[in-house]
């Protein structure tokens, strides 16, 4: 039983890391551009599908993990510069609806190119198999995933706190008008933010592929979870998104042990508890 619990907690932690990555991406875009990115889910899915195809062509899993998120960034750039930017002067509801339309389009494109049936991307031999931790035998890839995602989150944190661009992004979340006043090219800031958000979504998607497999609906399934992460975190809080993502992953892991059929509902229970007891979110100020 203890083995089961520990392994499920580790599973939940891995899942939580993925949620944290997509959640932070969504939070960045939400905070700086002031729109909920409804295309975030399909960017996540694209990350996985790109990785699958690249791995198949080149035979290198690592190269796929490197290139696929960058391709997703490219897609993100196109969405921002060709659509979202044209709508800045309209009400922000329209940007949201544009992204929703893009989500429908990309969703269907995925089915056209990769077919409606799901498949799996196997981790390379160096990462497959299990590892003996002494008290527990645990799949190697999942362990590497946790460490790598953790590493990425640290990198992201350093980027946001130690670099100029990071400071501008944080300033943008705090006070968007300020960035305009400071004479910074707002279009560029928005473009980079959207790109960074897309990168995180794509990366999470690619990383998830070996454990969760690829299905065309994966983008539509992850999107509501991202929104729950944002609601639980408090709108616009990056540390909040990281912690909320991990918490939700852990609670799903725990639910798998005791109420396996409720794994999908438990995240909404978390959300319900948050809005009842702390309506502004765990780290929200407003």
């Amino acid at each position: 039983m203890t083995f089961l619990i520990i392994s499920q907690i580790l599973n939940g932690l891995g899942l939580g890391m993925l949620y944290a990555l997509v959640g932070v991406g969504l939070t960045l875009i939400l905070g700086v551009l002031n729109i909920p990115n409804f295309a975030h889910g399909v960017l996540y899915a694209l990350g996985a599908y790109f990785a699958y195809t690249i791995a198949k062509i080149t035979g290198s899993f690592y190269f796929a993990m490197f290139l696929s998120p960058l391709l997703v960034v490219l897609v993100g750039f196109i969405l921002e510069s060709q659509g979202v930017r044209r709508l800045y002067h309209a009400h922000h509801d329209y940007q949201l609806l544009f992204l929703f339309a893009c989500a429908l389009i990309i969703q269907e494109i995925i089915i056209i190119f990769w077919g409606p049936i799901g498949f799996s991307l196997l981790a390379p031999p160096s990462l497959s198999g299990a590892i003996d931790l002494g008290f527990l035998i645990y799949p190697k890839y999942r362990l590497v995933l946790i460490c790598f995602a953790f590493f990425m989150i640290i990198c992201l944190y350093l980027f946001l706190t130690k670099t100029n661009l990071g400071a501008i992004l944080r300033a943008g979340i705090e006070n968007r008008d300020m960035v305009k006043v400071l004479g910074i090219n707002v279009n560029m800031v928005f473009l980079y933010t959207f790109g960074l958000g897309a990168y995180l979504a794509g990366l999470a998607g690619a990383l998830s592929a070996p454990i969760m497999g690829l299905t065309p609906s994966m983008g539509l399934d992850i999107l509501p979870i991202c929104f729950v992460v944002v609601v639980v975190a408090g709108l616009g809080s990056i540390p909040g998104a990281i912690i909320a993502g991990i918490l939700i992953g852990l609670s799903q892991g725990a639910a798998t042990i005791w109420f396996p059929e409720a794994t999908n509902v438990v995240i909404y229970v978390m959300m319900g508890l948050t809005i009842i007891f702390r309506p502004q979110g765990l780290f929200g100020v407003r």
Binding site: L97, F100, V265
Partner: protein, 319 residues
Amino acid sequence: MIQNKYSFIALIIFLFVGPFLFPNATITEMLIFGIVAISTNIMLGYTGMLSFGQALFFGTSAYISGLMLLGGFPLFLAIPVATLGSFIISLFVGYFCVKREGLYFICLTFAFNQMFYFIAYVWTEVTGGEDGLVGVERPTYIDSQLTFYIFTAIMFLLAVLALYKIVTSPLGLIFKLIRENASRAEAIGYNVRYYKLISFSIASTFTGLAGSLYVLIHSMVPIDQIHWLKSGDIIFMTLFGGVGSFLGPLIGVVGYIWLSDTFSIIWARWPLIMGVIFAIVVLYFRGGMSELLENLFKKYKAISRKTEHEQDIKNTKLN
């Protein structure tokens, strides 16, 4: 006012001509989603609140009415109970959502929608889970296509009249105040949160009414009727028609359902085309079809006036 008169005449004509233009299932679906879109517009167009969770009410109410019919209750009990059910849920969900504005409101409604979706998904014994709720039978007195259409049309008209009554009442004005300037509305003595909740509830209750009728079309409730994608469709229909006028959203519904019916026969990946249309509408025709028609009408008038004018000049020259 005069414009409204014409729109209502057009609506009555549509109700008579519609059954000859579209198959029975299509036209009844149009009327049912017509209720949804017109009531959603009370919230979206009049009050200025974008909810991404309207499928919650549509789906839940469809389940309630479907379950009651399966349980042997008469239709005239199932519809009010389902509608009342969505009213109560809308008060509950709305209470938490209207506390928050803008983006947070969108995120919350969206997340609530998915919460109910998963309840329906997991609770297989009751809802049928992924397969949907099947085997609901229409009562015999509306079993024929004609009687079913008449029944739907009457429900539709009643709902539209009730909603029209609301938008032309002081309540409708208060909704517009909130859309225009919520803090000023508060300063002249309106409890904005309270009226937002009313607006949310009205939209959701009528959406629920529509949901309770929907179960009768195909004698089943597919689970995707409560999925958040359906909420997106509902907003699209409303916007596609145009949020600027009372009956505008209905044009969007007719257009949307006709297009998706047509494309879904031609190509399995038809949502792609709908997505492209949606993107084009958002980028270039934000006023929706009703504004487009209005502009075309104005242009036509201007041109005809111009030609008349030229004709006059010609005539005077000839003379």
